[in-house]
């Protein structure tokens, strides 16, 4: 191909004919900010960030859409272009929840909160799952400046969680069109396009239907190409940025598609297609089911060997020894059930094993379940023909398993049928282990083990090799010709109804509830906790105040009767929920109700937030904690109350109690942006003066409560600050040094019992160790070790991510 030369910012670049100016600039190592441009997608020209000036060309064309021509002279960084980019970026960010960008404390805050809090919807970078990998953030970082000073446009109703696997928060969308172009490129019948005009324009399927009602194959490519957190993988989004990638093949169907694994902390946290080329397209199984299956909470981790009537973990070696014994004793009367989806090495080893022990080998097909076991085999098991049965996968249902003699099950998840086994072997699946598979052309492809084995999990071929090792068998004799891809084969990457329902005999819908939305039926309905009549605490009202913040009114007459300002209660949504403390905001002894502010930050709060009026909470225990000591303030004195996020609600009872006592209060409240401020009217009713602070300056003064404390704090007779650890830490630094005046905070460490028994809520105050639940929650803000508190709160970060309720609120 012929080349041409052009000059960009004084640098001469030689590029191929047909290159764009942007491509030429990249080749020359000149950075031009861009978002909608993508190497593998057609030029689009929507984000308008990559504007340049070209000698002899009118206006400021976008470099991503302008073909480079010979002799062209391009300028990428003139003053006018800088102004245009700055303002275009501000316009873009004005429709994106971006208060974190205008917050002066962003860097400090993010150094304390190293990962975004796992909120229901992203109201800012700090609650956005995409923060660690966000391209928009990358482009905006360092370039974002409020020049026009525009208000933020945020619409809570733009969050959609009605589809399987994919969360859509259209507030975050910048309409770069990458998802749409990706879908158009990959699929003959693209599922999504941009619907509506102007401010109503959004990525949508036909007539705004759920994507699963449309052509969408849930290949997830749109999610992978989204430069913002608009389209996210609901299950894996909170894990953050992967540390490395590895290539593997999927073995859920005979297509054996190539997948790229995203790996972090030795875990597979996601997959994606190798490219956005039609021939590389994958299905929902490869993109979503794969990862969720590998990370199933009921993964088998240890070998079990039956001793008497009980299965006992005995370690891998003992288990293999026992298997060998069983097989040796049952020689000639053995059934081996394998799977065609297994690696070639496993299948070869199973052939060798069957030959050596004179066993009957049945290889189950892809997508086969226990119901597909040949009738004669079932009959033989029932009639006790076999002395031993070795099943790789879940091919014997409970009833059949109970009849099988010498049952050995190798599997990756726990099943009820395994209770009848003599030996249970935990196996590795997919890219967790090395092996080889055949691609669609019949070529053998080796797959590397991409993650570390946990506990006693091993590849199936490894177990068999151990059994066969002492027997001196030449595996080479058992090479076989693998099945060719049938001409009738329908690839799930092209046909949604071809999506497999089973893997190694397991019904996928049992493990991945989202599959129900794609028409897959779970084997049996899951039992969820339903409170019996009269059990639990009835929710009278659940009102969303601002995104992620719920005002929860609960019927709890006993608590209402005893509650005092500053106390909290422990709430559990379900029987198996975490116990989490929530401040009592308001209560009415006569009517028997109490109120909480629930801020969604993780599993427990999200579970509570998802409940509706009429639902019941499993536990509400309280009032707990020491009420705020009101005796330290005298009538006529002036007290400053500072509240941030949930703290806006938490200062409410204190303000009320002080007002009743005749103490004059000023409430200063802060939120990231105007659309996150709440309780303005309520607080005005109980305080003398209300001061509003927003981190991005969109309402009230720009900044946080600590700014006000630093400026005015000394003129008050006392200060109480309640909010997140970062906010209280900032307030602590700003608090008046005069120790004769009280300066308090209310701490929110992890708690379990809330009665001083477990010690989880240990905090360092001055030189003393205190229990926040009984000694607190109120402490002298000047003496609290906030760094330690932040560390302790982060202790269960990974577990918290793993525990996230992935399908909450999505299956209405």
């Amino acid at each position: 191909m012929s080349t041409l030369k052009l000059t960009i910012d004084g640098v001469e670049v030689e590029v191929e004919q047909g290159s764009t100016v942007l491509q030429a600039a990249r080749k020359a190592g000149i950075f031009i900010p861009s978002l909608c441009a993508h190497e593998e997608l057609s030029p689009y020209g929507a984000c308008r960030l990559c504007v340049v000036q070209i000698d002899g060309v009118r206006g400021t064309p976008t470099s991503c859409t302008t073909p480079a021509t010979d002799g062209m002279v391009v300028h990428t960084d003139t003053e006018q272009l800088q102004i245009q980019r700055k303002r275009t970026l501000e316009l873009m960010m004005s429709g994106h929840p971006s208060p974190c960008f205008s917050c002066d404390s962003r860097e400090d805050c993010e150094s304390v909160k190293k990962q975004p809090s796992r909120a229901g919807s992203a109201t800012r970078c700090g609650t956005c799952s995409n923060r660690p990998i966000c391209e928009l953030r990358h482009v905006a970082m360092g370039n974002f400046e409020r020049d026009i000073d525009l208000p933020l446009l945020y619409y809570p109703e733009k969050v959609e969680r009605n589809d399987p696997f994919i969360d859509k928060d259209h507030n975050l969308c910048v309409l770069c069109g990458r998802c749409v172009r990706t879908c158009e490129k990959l699929h003959t019948n693209p599922a999504i396009s941009i619907a509506n005009r102007g401010k109503f324009a959004k990525v949508s399927s036909e007539f705004g239907k759920a994507w699963n009602e449309e052509e969408c194959l849930f290949c997830g490519a749109c999610v992978d190409e989204c430069p913002t957190g608009c389209l996210t993988d609901r299950w894996s989004k909170w894990f953050g940025a992967p540390e490395r990638a590895a290539e593997t093949l999927c073995s859920m169907c005979p297509q054996h598609c190539k997948l790229i694994l995203k790996i972090k902390d030795g875990k597979i946290i996601g997959t994606r297609a190798p490219s956005i080329k039609k021939e590389d397209a994958i299905c929902a199984g490869g993109r979503f089911v794969f990862t969720q299956l590998v990370n199933t909470r009921t993964r088998l981790l240890r070998s079990q060997v039956k001793e008497g009537r009980e299965q006992i973990p005995q370690g891998g070696e003992a288990a293999v020894k026992r298997v060998s014994e069983i097989l040796e004793n049952a020689r000639g009367k053995i059934l081996v059930i394998g799977s065609k989806s297994a690696y070639y090495e496993t299948r070869k080893a199973m052939r060798a094993l069957a030959k050596h022990f004179g066993a009957e080998l049945v290889e189950m097909d892809y997508d086969a379940s226990a119901a597909d076991l040949p009738p004669d085999i079932v009959e033989n098991i029932n009639s006790g023909k076999y002395e031993a049965v070795l099943s790789f996968g879940n091919y014997l249902d409970e009833e059949l398993a109970s009849k099988a003699k010498g049952l050995i099950v190798a599997d990756f998840v726990k099943t009820p049928a395994q209770n009848f086994a003599e030996v249970v072997l935990p196996v590795l699946i997919f890219g967790e282990t090395a092996g080889s598979l055949f691609n669609a052309e019949g070529r053998k492809i080796s797959v590397q083990a991409s993650v570390k084995t946990s506990l006693e999990q091993r590849p199936m071929s490894g177990y068999i090799a151990d059994i066969l090792k002492p027997l001196d068998i030449n595996l080479g004799e058992f090479d076989f010709e693998p099945e060719k891809l049938s001409s009738e084969f329908r690839s799930p990457a092209k046909y949604r109804d071809a999506l497999p329902s089973y893997f190694l005999g397991h019904n996928l819908a049992d493990y991945i509830p989202d599959l129900e939305k794609l028409g897959k039926k779970p084997s049996a309905s899951k039992k969820s906790w339903k409170p019996a009549e009269g059990e639990g605490f009835e929710i009278l009202e659940n009102k969303t105040l601002v995104p992620n913040f719920h005002a929860l009114k609960v019927k709890a007459p006993d608590i209402a009767r005893h509650a005092r300002a500053g106390q909290f209660a422990i709430i559990m949504a379900y029987r198996n929920s975490e116990r989490s403390p929530f401040t009592l905001i308001d209560w009415n002894a006569e009517e028997g109700w109490v109120k909480f502010i629930i801020e969604e930050v993780g599993r427990s709060s999200a579970e509570i937030g998802a409940l509706k009026a009429g639902d019941r909470l499993f536990v509400v225990s309280g009032p707990l904690g020491t009420p705020v000591d009101l005796s330290i303030f005298k009538p006529g004195q002036k007290v400053l109350l500072a509240g941030g996020c949930y703290g806006i609600g938490a200062i409410m009872p204190v303000a009320r109690a002080l007002a009743e006592k005749g103490v004059e209060t000023t409430c200063v409240i802060e939120a990231s942006s105007s659309y996150m401020l709440f309780f303005k009217k309520e607080l005005k009713g109980v305080c003398k003066k209300l001061v509003l602070k927003t981190r991005d300056g969109t309402e009230g003064e720009k900044g946080g409560c600590s700014d006000y404390i630093a400026k005015e704090g000394a003129s008050y007779d006392g200060v109480i600050a309640i909010g997140c650890v970062f906010m209280m830490g900032q307030c602590a630094k700003a608090a008046p040094a005069d120790e004769s005046k009280p300066a308090l905070c209310a701490l929110n460490p992890i708690m379990v019992d809330g009665t001083g028994m477990c010690g989880a809520c240990r905090v360092s105050v001055g030189s003393e160790t205190k229990f926040a639940c009984v000694d607190g929650p109120f402490f002298d803000i000047r003496k609290v070790d906030f760094a330690e508190l932040a560390d302790r709160r982060n202790a269960y970060r990974l577990l918290e991510v793993e525990a996230m309720p992935r399908s909450l609120g999505c299956h209405k």
């Binding site: 429709g95 525009l150 069109g177 005009r197 102007g198």
Partner: protein, 618 residues
């Protein structure tokens, strides 16, 4: 052309019969504007009354297009054999009997209703149409047949020189045709003003077995109706232009992209295409082996479809969003084939240029803007309607002489030219020659030719808000500057209009406008801030008054206007109370009424309703 020879002979006969026949003829102006004013009721009444008087067989009723005097609709022409045709204005069904009795039967035109006579000489004291104040300064080339012929008659068009331009073009080489159009100086009448001949030459040079001509009939500016009138009143002039364009560029197919809000235009076009096909002009091989066809594609009224790349996307059946150029349509357009897009008026002008020659057209207009341009006059002007003038005509002549100044003796404040993409001009521009260069220099554009006049009762901030709200809702949403810029500009203007404006808002608007103009993807976004920029340029004091004094000088913005009753003028008639939607205006017979400021929403209904000027706005 052989195929038209015999048709032309017939056509002359038909036209003679129509224009000067032996029967009395009633001609109803039944374009959309006339219909909206009740022309069809008038037509029905004529038919009914003629039947009653036994004249049905001796009098013929025909329809025609819009002659341009929209303010005077319904317009009816009555012509008795051997006498000139008299044009009557504002004809109501109630007038019909008198017109029949006195003019048709009695032979005496009804002077009180007569607007003009359709001849060169005065007739019974009625001035000729050519001397009508709205007409005398016009130069009608594109509109020459509108309101004159029956648009459903192929013969009428032929008889008035129709398809002579095509015949002449086909006798030339395509390159010669392009040169002729270049020489005429014709520039794109859709708004951009790009030389038409040059555009054609680009399409001509593109090599492809398939090329397309698109006629852009997606007229979307509020207050613009030039294209509609041409399509309704003289559809063949557009079809002839399209065929000539097709021949010159070497195209084989054409689409007319017309909004479905123009049902009559689509009906007329459909018929005209059928007639042209039957005449062998379309779908048949013409001399030189040229074969061509035209299809109509109905749009559903998205402003952005006026932008050529969106329009092509819409024809292709995908979402209408502009795409970046290059590639230009002349290289890769509709279905990725070379495509030439012209506006309705441009193509209609081509027919005349090819018929009369480039020199005729080039002799008209100003130095760089040749020929004529149609304008629609709308808003608070005395004579609303459709006009065609030479480019370079002074703005003041258009507004005051042709348009008759503001209605009801109010003071002229500004005129918005070019629709939402244009800007406003003031009385200080009355001496400005209206052409592409001069309007651009004044911060506005000719655009497709809409002129919306504002008087002293118009709040210019509110006007800017209106146009921005239009572009906000019509923005496709693709590019950031347009999608977000229109939203914020609209919000800021709303804020100013509701008395909450801050001094910084003016700078904010200017910054947004700059960003949109420089950075937006397509013409819609780049020009959307023009109404803001020009109102800020010429009426900044009104913005400042809104922001600093919290006062709307034109007393338009509801939140800054207060209504009360002047007791000395109130006659306690109760009209204000009846008009008031909130019950704020109330009172009892005998004593002056009052307005409860708490309940008042400043809608102005009482102000409109009061006949005694007793409602005070301040």
């Amino acid at each position: 052309m052989e195929i038209l020879k015999s048709r032309r002979r017939d056509a002359q006969k038909v036209w003679k019969e129509f224009s000067d026949g032996a029967k009395t003829r009633i001609l109803i102006g039944a374009a959309t504007c006339g219909r909206a004013a009740g022309a069809l009721d008038v037509e029905k009444e004529f038919a009914k009354k003629l039947a009653e008087t036994g004249l049905a067989d001796s009098v013929e009723i025909r329809q025609t297009g819009c002659i341009g005097l929209c303010y005077a609709e319904p317009l009816v022409e009555i012509k008795r054999p051997g006498e000139p045709s008299v044009l009557y204005s504002k004809v109501k069904p109630a007038d019909v009997k008198k017109l029949i009795d006195e003019h048709i039967v009695g032979g005496k035109p009804v002077q009180s209703k007569a607007e003009a006579v359709m001849s060169d000489a005065e007739y019974m004291g009625i001035k000729p149409f050519g001397e009508h104040p709205m007409v005398s300064l016009q130069k009608r080339i594109v509109l020459r047949n509108c309101g004159i012929i029956d648009p459903t008659s192929f013969e009428h068009y032929l008889a008035r020189g129709g398809y002579e331009g095509l015949e002449r073009a086909l006798s030339m080489s395509p390159e010669e045709v392009i040169k002729e159009v270049l020489d005429s100086g014709l520039r794109g009448r859709g708004g951009a003003g790009f030389p038409t001949g040059m555009k054609w030459s680009f399409a001509r040079k593109s090599n492809s077995d398939t090329k397309y001509i698109i006629c852009n009939a997606d007229e979307g500016d509020p207050g613009a109706f030039m294209d509609r009138s041409v399509l309704e009143g003289d559809p063949h002039s557009v079809i002839e232009g399209i065929i000539i364009a097709g021949y010159a560029t070497g195209s084989n197919h054409a689409y007319i992209y017309c909004r479905s809000e123009y049902p009559l235009a689509i009906e007329r076009l459909t018929l005209a295409i059928k007639q042209a096909e039957e005449a062998g002009l379309l779908k048949s091989e013409l001399p030189n082996g040229f074969k061509f066809d035209i299809k109509i594609k109905k749009g559903s009224g998205a402003f952005v479809c006026g932008e050529e790349t969106s329009l092509m996307a819409s024809i292709e059946g995908v979402r209408a969003m502009p795409r970046p150029k290059p590639p230009f349509p002349a290289v890769s357009g509709l279905f990725k084939k070379p495509t030439n897009i012209n506006n309705v008026e441009t193509l209609a002008a081509v027919s005349s240029i090819m018929r009369e020659g480039a020199a005729m057209y080039n002799s008209l207009g100003s130095e760089k803007s040749k020929g004529t341009k149609t304008f629609s006059l709308a808003g608070k002007i005395a004579r609303t309607g459709l006009i065609e003038v030479e480019l370079g005509t002074k703005l003041g002549d258009i507004i005051n002489k042709i348009g008759g100044g503001c209605a009801d003796g109010k003071h002229f404040k500004a005129v918005q030219t070019g629709g939402p993409s244009g800007g406003c001009l003031t009385a200080e521009h009355f001496d400005l020659p209206v052409d592409y260069e001069n309007l651009a220099a004044a911060g506005s554009i000719i655009g497709s030719g809409g002129m919306v006049v504002m008087n002293e009762d118009s709040c210019m901030v509110e006007v800017a808000k209106y146009f921005v709200s239009f572009t906000e809702s019509e923005s496709c949403g693709k590019c950031v500057p347009c999608r977000m810029g229109t939203q914020h500009a609209h919000k800021i203007l709303e804020k100013i209009c509701s008395g909450k404006g801050e001094p910084e808002d003016i700078e904010r608007l200017q910054k947004i406008a700059f960003t949109m103009k420089q950075s937006a993807l397509c013409g819609l976004g780049q020009t959307a801030p023009n109404p803001i920029v020009t109102t800020l340029r010429y009426f900044k004091d009104e913005y400042i008054e809104h922001i600093n004094a919290k006062r709307c000088p034109a007393l338009v913005c509801p939140e800054m206007v207060h209504f009360s009753v002047a007791a000395d003028k109130c006659r306690a008639c109760g009209m204000c109370a009846r008009a008031c939607p909130t019950g704020a205006a109330s009172g009892k017979p005998g004593s002056p009424y009052s307005i409860d400021a708490q309940k008042c929403i400043s809608c102005g209904a009482c102000y409109q309703a009061c006949k005694f000027g007793a409602i005070v706005r301040q």
